[in-house]
């Protein structure tokens, strides 16, 4: 891996605007095993799951959640092998289930629920998340900080958030290796809105 090169020149081309993913991406974007970021039975695997909820507290059944994180050794390269196709029928058969790719993609179900199986990230206490949905004109970035990960106390983002806001970025322990992380697109009258991030 060569050393990263910072690009210091400001952007000169204007970006292509974002548009909503809409409700009908389901036959196109999700793929078999999209939530299995590590092979089934992998030692040390953890489940990250929760609901995507709107400003009425109602589940969002047509959201798409993407997760990106470093490998346990801290590597941020990712790996190909997510979208393999059957060479005869052309059908997507998904991952070969042997490697950690760092990337997960899952649609929410009718209850607005998503789940990925992964391993704790190396070097940082969080996984990066993007949320797409009908009604979202531009996707949203957030992070799920694992409640039992080292490094949370020194984290640059967490340390500058007020406590109530910070709490929306922390997972809740449910069972051994099970992390609950609900994503609230808007304050619903009871629950705080999830902190969303701008990388400008």
């Amino acid at each position: 891996m060569s050393s990263p090169t910072p690009i210091t020149a400001p952007g000169t081309l204007a970006p292509t605007p974002s548009q909503t993913v809409g409700p009908f991406y389901g036959y196109a974007l999700p793929f078999a095993g999209g939530g299995d970021m590590v092979p089934v039975g992998h030692p040390g695997a953890v489940v990250l799951h929760g609901h995507v909820l709107d400003g009425a507290g109602a589940p969002v059944p047509d959201a798409l959640v993407e997760v990106w994180q470093p490998a346990p050794d801290g590597s941020r390269r990712g790996a190909p092998g997510s979208l393999r196709r059957d060479p005869v029928t052309g059908a997507v058969i998904g991952r070969h289930g042997l490697t950690f790719t760092g990337f997960g993609r899952v649609p929410t179900d009718a209850d607005g629920h998503y789940a990925v199986r992964t391993v704790p990230p190396g070097g940082v206490p969080y996984v990066a998340i993007t949320v797409f949905a009908r009604g979202l004109t531009h996707h949203l970035h957030t992070r799920a900080y694992l409640h039992d990960a080292a490094g949370r106390a020194e984290d640059r983002l967490l340390s500058r958030l007020p406590e109530q806001r910070r709490a929306t970025l922390l997972t809740t322990p449910e069972d051994t290796g099970v992390h609950r992380f609900d994503i609230r697109l808007q304050y619903d009258g009871v629950h705080e809105e999830t902190v969303f991030l701008d990388f400008g």
Partner: protein
């Protein structure tokens, strides 16, 4: 949910109106169009007052009613550009993820799909104009009649057994992507009464960083539905909205075969995006 309007010349049977129910006022196109105009006027005033150009749509865009309960009310938390941020690197897809046929949506079934065959091509660039190489581009779309191969799309237009409407490719060394497909049709939706979406192709792009991730829609030039559509109009900047419309390119049209469209895509992301040399 609204019911489809009665055909012209027919009378709505009064037996369908249940006694005791209060009819919600019909949300007309005129009302939505007035909101679209108001949002554009607000944006023009903000620019005149010195506010920066906004290329991306507001998340709180009332004419698109689905945004009402789904937009955050807090300001997003500014992250600056810390090279340690995980979001500045991203997924890598490779040749094993894509087959030669994936970019051709007309070759995915036993027969050929109905409709006007088109090729769509262009370059994926970062904001400095450098090609974004070897990255995954995914598309999905309705068929030529304006219907998705999705159970929840119950719009009474014919399904095409030879068209599903999903394609993938990786950008090449010049950042170029290319698809063969059919031109999608316009279709109705239920944002308001008589709402119709202009023909469009959905695009999903991975740049070289998670911060460059983009989901967007490509539109076709000259579509009469542009002004009526709150999703396209959610981009209130005229130039930015124009960048969502492909150009017909006669040099890309193939004799006896297809019409050609060119659409270049510029991925956003911090100006200090970290890349790896040689990629």
């Amino acid at each position: 949910m609204t019911t489809p309007p009665a055909p012209p010349g027919t009378i709505e049977p009064s037996s369908l109106i249940r006694p005791g129910t209060v009819e919600a006022p019909v949300l007309t196109q005129a009302r939505i169009s007035a909101e679209i105009t108001a949002a554009r006027d607000d944006y023009a005033r903000s620019i005149a007052a010195g506010a920066p150009v906004r290329s991306h749509p507001d998340r709180d865009y009332a004419p698109y009613r689905s945004s009402t309960l789904r937009h955050p009310r807090h300001e997003l938390t500014a992250m600056g550009s810390d090279p340690e941020d995980v979001e500045l690197s991203g997924p890598v897809f490779g040749v094993t993820d894509i087959t030669d046929l994936d970019h051709d949506l007309t070759r995915r079934h036993q027969g050929e799909p109905l409709g006007e065959r088109i090729t769509v091509t262009g370059r994926v660039l970062d904001r400095s104009g450098r090609p974004v190489r070897g990255q995954l581009v995914e598309i999905w779309q309705a068929n030529a009649s304006g219907r998705y191969a999705h159970l929840r799309d119950q719009h009474p237009a014919p399904l095409d057994p030879n068209f599903t409407g999903v394609g993938r490719c990786l950008t090449d060394d010049q950042g170029t992507y290319s698809f063969v497909t059919v031109k999608p049709g316009a279709y109705p939706w239920r944002n308001h009464a008589n709402a119709w979406r202009p023909a469009h192709i959905h695009f999903s792009l991975f740049g070289s960083a998670f911060t460059q991730r983009l989901v967007t829609q490509m539109y076709f030039p000259g579509d009469p539905l542009f002004a009526y559509d709150p999703i396209l109009q959610s981009v209130t900047d005229d130039d930015a909205r124009g960048r969502l419309v492909a150009a017909y390119d006669h040099d890309l049209s193939i004799p006896e075969w297809s019409l050609g469209y060119r659409w270049d895509i510029v991925l956003d992301g911090p100006s200090a995006t970290w890349i790896e040399e040689g990629r």
